[in-house]
Each structure stands twice: as C-alpha cells, then as structure tokens.
Symmetry: C2
Subunit: 627 residues, 2 copies
C-alpha cells in the first residue's frame, strides 16, 4: 500500500482544515418552490421585477380626493364634496375624481383617476344628499402609498448568499417569486464499513459480536444539520466486492463520501484501492486525539473523508473538520450556538502531550454560569454522546486544565443545550419517573458511592444514594423514598429465602459494588452469616454467580427472565413489572442529596417539590413508599 507509506507524519489540525477546504464539494444551484425555500440560501441576487404596490394604493379607509379641494378645511370650517362612487380593495375603480367630487375608498384599494390623496373616514361625515363633509385638509400623497414606494421594479431586493427565513419569504412573496434560485445542498454519501455492524431495526446476533451501526444515522443527522443532503448507502457487511461497488456508486452520485473507521483491515484495503484507482489520497491521520484514523482524498469527481470508528470520535472529527466544509458548500454561516464558554468544574490532568479534543459535559452552577467537566467513559461508549455535550480543544503539551480555568466547548450540535439538572448515583425505576418530570435532565447511573464521591467534587447538582451510605462531604437531603429489595426469581424456581440461595444450586446475578442494592445485599449476607456462624467469604463461595455483576437495576431480573439465571438481586417493582417472582430481603431508603451550593438552583428546587409530591408518581409501582 504505497499510499499508506507516504503519510508517516500526522498532519497538523491546521493542515487538515486546509486539505478539507481544498476539496471541491460545491453542489450545482437549484430552484425550489417558495414553500420549500425556508432555511435555504439564495444562489443569486433577486431584483424586484414589479413595483410593489403595483398601483397607487389607499392606506386608510376614507375618501379619495383631489387634495386641493380640501385646502383650508378644518373642524370649524369643513368643506362638503359630492360622493361619486366607491372603490374597494381588489377592484378596478369605475369612478373618476374630478374637482369637487370624491370617491369612498377602502384601505388597499386603487386610487381612482384624478384623486391624489385620501381623507381618513374619521375626519368626515356623510350628508343626506350623497355628499360628504370633510373636516381636514390633506396634501397630495397623504394616506396614499405610491406605486413602487415599497419596492420599485429594478431595485435590488435580496443578495446572493442570503439565508431565507420567514421574512425573506415575505419579500419574495410580495415580488410574486414562487420559484427561488438557491444554493444546492451538497450530496453526502454515507457508507457503513464494519463487518460487525447491523442497521437499527434489523435483528442483532450478539453472540456473533454484532452491534448496531451508530455512525451512519448520527453522521446523516450532522450532515443535514450542516446543510448537506445525506444519502445512506446499504450496509455491505463483510461482502467486500459489494462494498467496493457501493463506494464507486456513492462517489459517482455524491459531492462527498464519508465512511467511519472499520475494524476490518479488508474494508480499509478496499477504500485504499478505490482511492488509488480513481483519485488521490491527500491526508492520512491528524495529530489530534481522536483524529489519527482520519483519511482525506478524492474518488473520481467526489471528495472522500474517512472518520474514526468510535461514535464520539466520528462526530467530534466530523464537526471539527468536515462540517465547516459542508456548510461552506451549502452557503451557510457557522451557527451562533455551536460553541459555549465555561469554567472547568474540576482539575483534569493529562499523562501524554498530544493535542486532544476532550469530550466534556456542561452544568450550570447556582449563578447560571456554565461549568465544564471531562467525560471519559472509555473506548467507544455511545452513551458518551449524550453524557457529554461537546468537546474542548486541549493544546498539545498541556499538563492539566485547572479547576476554574475558562475553556471553550464546541457542542456536538448547535441544537445541543446544557442539561438543566445534573444527577449521578443509584439507578431506580421511580427515579426514572421523577426525571421524566424534568426538562433536559442528565442522570449518570454510576451507583450510590460514585454519585456521592462526585457530589463531593462539586460536579453534579444532586446525588441519589440508596441503602447504607457514609460520606464526609456536606450534602443537603431534599427528600426520598423507600424501596423494597430482594431476590427477583424465576417462577419455576423454589428459592424462598437467602438460605435457599446459599444452599441450593441456583444461578445468581449480582449488582456491581457501587450500587446501594449490592451494599444492602452484602449487609444481609453478613447478618445471615452471623446467625449461621459463617463468614461472608464462605457464603459468597456458595453463591454461584455472586461475582457476576451488572450495571443496571433491571439487568439481573432480565437475565432471570431470559432463563440465563434463577435469581437476581433487584427490586419488587422490577419483579412485578416483568412478571417474575420476588423474595423480599428488606426495604432501603433512597435519598436525593443536593450540592449545598446549588440547593436554590431552580431545577433543584423544582425537583425537591416533585419529590414532596411523590405519591402521585408512585402510582401503583410495587414496593415503593414515600419516605
């Protein structure tokens, strides 16, 4: 692969911007109906082709007059003129206004021949004999909008590059323009290249390592947002001939073709070969984490950009390097809401000197200022897409970002807005319902102990803890509830207490060590062990699956439901929801603790009020009680 060898050094981000800007992805202009013109960009200047209005137009209800007939008239000394007829809007006048004569006229109507002004109806009185008494004098042109006074034929109306919003639609309407010349949207082909990928909606074979294709739809959304027209090509899986055919097809049909990293060397080889045969590789790798896998080149008349495979990386590199080019080609300005500024909520250290685009989350502090915290969930977590709001460009050689340091965050999308309430801690089905009452919450189910720890570091607004907890950090309890916990068991199983689990031959599924359920379970084991006179270690050894931990409150129960386990640690609410059996081992408190500094933040106050009224949310949820 000669091309690969040419790019020993990674390009700088500045070089990458230049290389991408040098690609030709400009689409041909097109014409769209006025009804579809919103948010498009004018391709050329639009001059007025007609006068608006097209006639001298009454701008008041009243009487069309010869102004000189009213000279000298006032309240004390009105003049009486003869009414020769009337003119309504949308009618051709059939009356001529001669000296001493007027015509009744409606707002918007054509001024009749001879008339040069309108007296508003409020300054007139009809007389019995088809006359009208006029109690004011008017000058020529009064209450008349002359033809072309709004905009005259030949005048410049809208310039090329104008973004069409409702008001521009209004002006185009006034000019009678119903076909609008607009910049084309660049056609952006999206290819999906991983052997293991399956399109959402298709059946997934997890045992064969299949996962859903995240990048195709995500990139399609980001392309559309930047003003491009995404074209998704079918997924070729591990059929490399089909993939090559699709790559050719996409290059022939599109202005730009995108793919995102493949874990398959064969897929990468196909892409290299097609670029070598029909185009040119212009860049391989950018010296910014996560830009190392980025490829830029051409295939025939189309541009090609290869993005990293992990979803957060793909969207980050797209927004940084590709979206500006798509916007330029579509004639769009950079969105005003694409970046925000905030201060680091915590210190973040860096072990290596590389420049990086660090995923970051946002939260408002008690004063409404934005705090920024790093989000690092590790390789390829798709939830980072929604746990972070964007990314911070951290220069190379940065040892750390200090707490309180100001940073700019490029949002994953201009439509992203920071969460109103940031919570971390235990997961719980009633908590899910509570969160549904909040507009734009973010909740990270890290477990009770981790939630408490992060609350102590000052990042979240609230932590939710369940079961026995201890913390040195100050926190303000804003309410909570009780939940019944125990063993969620298969209906076919005769587990009826903890002793059965220990003594019998059952497959068990546990929760992770950070969860409050786990700590209550371990406490119950200790109590059980004391009664029986054995240590916890012995009991643990006796429980098949004690080490098999899961991250979410429903996970053990779902394994029971799937027949993969006989019993799982969980809640009565879950057992009832899934139609499984339940062995109660106790109740535990779930407490919502607020960062004391944020207690008065609107979203925290509202959340506390919602918890006060939790009865209505419990609504039959089994095993849940107000505190």
């Amino acid at each position: 692969m000669s091309d690969r060898r040419e790019f020993r050094d990674l390009a700088s981000p500045e070089e990458a911007h230049e290389v991408v800007a040098g690609l030709d992805i400009d689409p041909a202009p097109e014409t769209v109906p006025l009804a579809d013109a919103r948010d498009r960009v004018l391709a050329e200047r639009v001059d007025a082709d007609i006068d608006v209005p097209g006639f001298d137009r009454a701008s008041m209800d009243g009487y069309a007059v010869r102004a000189r007939d009213t000279f000298g008239a006032d309240e004390a000394d009105p003049v009486t003129l003869s009414v020769a007829g009337e003119v309504h809007a949308g009618e051709k006048p059939d009356v001529t206004v001669e000296s001493g004569v007027v015509a009744e006229i409606s707002t918007g109507a054509v001024m009749p021949p001879g008339a040069d002004a309108v007296v508003m109806v409020e300054r007139t009185t009809e007389t019995d004999d088809d006359g009208v008494e006029i109690r004011t004098s008017v000058a020529p042109g009064d209450n008349v909008m002359l033809a072309g006074a709004d905009i005259a034929a030949g005048a410049r109306a809208l310039g090329p590059g104008t973004r069409i919003t409702p008001r521009e639609i209004g002006l185009l309407s006034a000019l009678g323009v119903d076909e609008v010349p607009v910049r084309g949207r660049p056609q952006v082909g999206i290819l999906s290249t991983g052997d293991e990928l399956v399109r959402p909606g298709d059946p997934l074979d997890s045992a064969a390592g299949q996962i859903y294709d995240v990048n195709s739809y995500t990139l399609a959304g980001a392309v559309a947002e930047a003003g491009g027209n995404p074209v998704m090509y079918p997924h070729a899986g591990d059929d490399y001939e089909e993939m090559e055919r699709l790559l050719h097809e996409a290059a022939d049909e599109c202005d730009l073709v995108l793919s995102s990293g493949s874990t398959s060397a064969s897929a990468v080889d196909v892409i290299y070969r097609v670029i070598e045969e029909r185009g040119e590789l212009r860049l391989h790798g950018v010296a910014v984490k996560p830009g190392k896998p980025m490829l830029v080149g051409t295939i025939g008349d189309s541009a090609y950009v290869g993005l990293p495979g992990y979803p957060v990386s793909a969207l980050t590199i797209f927004q940084t390097f590709v979206a500006p080019a798509v916007r330029d080609a579509a004639g769009r300005d950079p969105p005003q809401t694409a970046t925000v500024s905030g201060t680091m909520a915590v210190q973040e250290r860096y072990g290596e000197g590389r420049r990086r685009l660090m995923p970051a989350g946002l939260v408002e502090d008690e004063t409404g200022s934005l705090l920024v915290y790093p989000v690092d969930k590790g390789s390829g977590a798709t939830t980072s897409l929604v746990d972070a709001d964007g990314f911070v460009d951290v220069p190379p050689g940065t040892d750390y970002l200090a707490e309180g340091e100001t940073v700019d965050v490029t949002l994953f999308s201009p439509a992203v807005r920071p969460p109103t309430l940031l919570g971390m801690g235990e997961d719980d089905p009633l908590l899910s319902r509570l969160l549904d009452t909040v507009s734009r919450p973010r909740y990270l189910p890290l477990g009770s102990t981790e939630g408490l720890r992060r609350l102590g570091n000052g990042v979240p607004d609230i932590a939710v803890v369940a079961g026995p907890t201890s913390s040195d950090h100050e926190a303000t309890d804003i309410g909570g509830w009780q939940r019944e916990w125990g063993l969620v068991v298969s209906p076919d199983t005769d587990v009826s207490d903890l002793g059965d689990l220990v003594d019998g031959d059952y497959r068990f599924v546990n929760r992770d060590i950070a969860s409050g359920l786990r700590r209550s379970f371990d406490g119950a084991l200790d109590t059980f062990g004391e009664k029986r006179g054995v240590g916890r270690a012995e009991l643990i050894d006796a429980i098949d699956g004690y080490e098999l931990t899961t991250k979410a409150h429903e996970s053990p129960a779902r394994k029971v439901l799937a027949g993969d386990a006989d019993a799982g640690l969980g809640l009565r609410a879950t057992a009832t929801k899934l139609g499984l059996g339940f062995v109660s081992l106790g109740t535990q408190p779930v407490r919502v603790l607020a960062n004391p500094d944020r207690r008065e933040k609107d979203s925290v106050t509202e959340f506390a009020e919602t918890i006060d009224d939790i009865d209505s949310l419990i609504d039959g949820m089994a095993g849940m009680e107000p505190q």
Copy 2:
C-alpha cells in the same frame, strides 16, 4: 354582531398570552423513522431494551487471555502462551481460552469463553511455534468492555421532551431503535382572506388593485420554524361561500387555524359567523400596537387566531403571541437566538402613550456592539420585513427611548442575523454588484441626501451619494466610480437633447428629489435655462411628467419600456440593459462615504478594498468608469 360588542376593551398583552396558552392545540404523538427524527421531540421515555454492547467486547487489538496466566509477566520476564485461534469483529468465537492458552482478538470482537482480559498487541511478540510472548500482566476486565457497560437493558436512556439532535440519534441507533415515538407537530391551517390577494406565481392585475399574498407563505415559514406543520388552504378571493367552506375544512383538519386581517368586512363577517356557530370568541384586540385586530377563539375542536393584515404586524404578533404556543405544543424550547440586546443608535420619540412593538433594525458598531434603530416605513411596507430585524417592546407611556438606552430586540426569526454592513443612499446598478460581494449587507435606497443625513446621525456604516452633494457631517470617502446619466428614451422617439424634451410633446418620468440623478438633472435644467434665458420653473412647466417621480434607478426606464412614457431620467447602463435609447446629459461621481467611527470595521475595510478593484465588477456595464 353580538361578539364584537362583547370586547369593548382591548386585552392586555398578558391576558392575550394567557388566552392563547389556554387554547388546546396539542397534536397526537406519532412515530417516525429514525432517519426523520432529527429536530423532533421525544414523546415518551426511551429505556434501553438491550445491553450495549450485547456481549463482552475486546476494546483493543491483541490477545484474549485468562488474566491470571499473565500475573507477574513484564518486559524483563515475559510469559509465553499458546495461541489457540483467532476472533474477529462480527464473528462468533470458535475457540475456548483455557489455562495457558490465548486467542488472537480484534477490537470489537466477542471475548471467547474462558478469557477475561485482553493484552494489547503492542505488548506481545509472536513466536515461531504458534505461541505468543506476553510482556505485561493484565487484571480481569482489562481492555474489555463488559456486556451492558455502555448502557444496560432496562436503564433509562432518553427522557420525554428530549430534542433529538445527531447525538440522540446515535444513542437510539445503538439501542436499535428505528421507529421513534415523537411529539406530533401541531397542524396549523393558514387561510388567506383578502379579496385583493393573489398567490405568488399567479398573474397579477395591478389595475384591479391586486397584490401578492405575503402573509400566507411568511406565516407558513414561521409556523414551521416554531415546530408546527403549516397547511396552506387555497385562496378563496371574494367567494365568501368558498371561504366559509375552507374555514370549516381547516378547523376540522387542523389543531390551529390562522388567518391574517382582511380589508374586507364581508370576510371578517364570515369568520365571526363560523366562530359563533361552532366555537367561541375569547379575545378581540390586544392593547399593543399592532395587536388591535387580533382575534382568538375556537372553531369546533380547533383553535383560531386572527392576525393583523400588514406583513410586519402579522409576523410580529405571530412571534409574540402565537409562536410560543406552537412551540409548547410541539415540545420545543424557546430558541436561544430569538432575542438580542443592543443600545439605541438614535433617540426615538413617541407621540401617543400606547404600548407598541416597534420594528427595529440592527447594526454592529466599531467595537462589535449592537446598535438598534427604529424602522418605520409606514403602513404595510413589506420591505420592512427585511429592513428591520425584529421589534422592541416599548412600554405604554414611554415618551422616548434615549440614544444609548439598552433595549431587547425580539428577532423576526431565530435564524435572523444582523447585517454585516449597513448602507443607505443612492441606488445604482454597479452598487448592486458591489453589494453582492458582501455577506449579509443591508442597503436602503433612500437617495443621496437622505443617506448623508442618516450617516450624520450615526446609524449606517456607509452612505452612497451621487452627483453634487453638500454636508456638514464628517465622513470618510472610501472610493467610488463615475456613471453616465441622461434620458432613457423609447427607440420610437426622436428626443435627442434636453431642448427636445422641453419643446416637444413627450411624456417624461422623473426621479424623486432625494436622488443624485434628480439633482444633476435639475442642475442641467438650470444651465439650459441660463442659455435660453428662462427660469427653471418655466422649463418644469414645459416638461410633461416632471412631477411624476419614481423611487428606483430603473423605474423611469421601465415606464418607457412599458410604453407609458417617452423618456425617463436614468443611466446609460439601464438603457443598454433594457435595449432602450439614451441621450447622454453628463457623468456624475458616485462616492461611498464611511462613518468615520466605523472606518476600521471589517466589513467597511473589505468594502473599500472591493471598490479599489472595481474594474472587475464593471465588466462591460455601459457608462460606468472607475473614479
């Protein structure tokens, strides 16, 4: 009309907000394909239905091992294990990792049975005999993403009310969700009720007082922007039975029906009758200019809002009172870019004490701060839509807004952005080309004298003046050109000099007094009169049409072209463009003058550079010369 009598007092704006908020325009939720979900709003919570990943997944290329087999291994003391096979992404493992055995594994592949960690390939060396030397120790779980570690089945993924941006599309993709439950878009029917209105694209009979319908498409754009689905109904013109039928149809099909003021009493009567028969009138008139004509009520199960008829008024009242309700019904948050703050560039006095929504334009000063200036082009000017950027809510009883006072401007649309360059003054075809090179310019063709006056008041960045000018105000000349002016004449006419126009029986069309062309023309008349020994007044009397003035540089020529005049004041460039004859009366300078404070503003500097290079823009335009 009993309903009309019930509303003697205008409602306060607060009452109007309440009445509109009390309308039920909530649409039913719906399900859309993932590819169409961008910018929609989730109707319900989405919990994960599957574990992501669905299997224990290698997160590095390397070797899947039993961690305990590597304990103690390091660079100095590697351990050699036997390679039993390999696992690629998207494959079901066909190898089991027993003690002493490893499997080669690709990033994303399923961990084979028995393995609990991955050693990254960089810390290994293949040996000749199907073995691998491992130079590091790993702990269980190292370089493995456990099933459900990204998000576990049963966990809360996205809450109701979440706006779907590309990142949410990513998470939905990961969960395999290809049909997304979203809030419906409220169906908003738009009725057009003026007898005189014609839909853009249809032929216009100006003599009969017809004008293009501006509000229907404008409101449709604003409805779509607020998250509604606009439904435009055919224009019924003066067929009131058809209009009544359409009103019933729209009410049956839509959540909300909008119409905008009609100048026809009959049309208003139809609306009143339908509301009386099938619903309830809840509000008539709001005590804010221009809200007096506003109507709010119900027709059957639909809500109804009647808006003022003038385009700026209709859009202003829609954005103020109706858009929030449409957004609420669609589940949208208020847009971040809906309002901006700026300081008044000039003082604005008010003669009456009414609360008003004052149309206002924006311009950036030399420091990038926003200045706000009132735009009052009088009744019903559609160009105010693009000459203003939005409106300022001026409280009742306000005598004046002071220069420098801070005001908030609600933009006509969240997509509106202030102009980069604000110019006022003479209109000119070469200037139109110059403006085409600027991104987002605003140019008001008010004539040279008015442009100069406004420059003196400190509002525009530049004024463009043609012909003889005088001004006491300081201004910085940044360049200009010469243009040849004279009489644009019909090819059938034998006007060959000014004398012919004075002595012959020709129909002439003049320009308005503010234009530089007009002042040069008057100067030429003075010179001609001196030669002939007569005053200007006598010459004016002799020219049929001297008082017939037009506002744009092409207007007189267009009247000649249309056969409505024999000669018009204009430019050689226009005569050549329209294929008309031309009698040269001289050349005049066109100068671009900058506000001295804004000379260094980027857009002004760039404009000056473009003028320096004006040769390339003249490109054969007749009668134009660099300065």
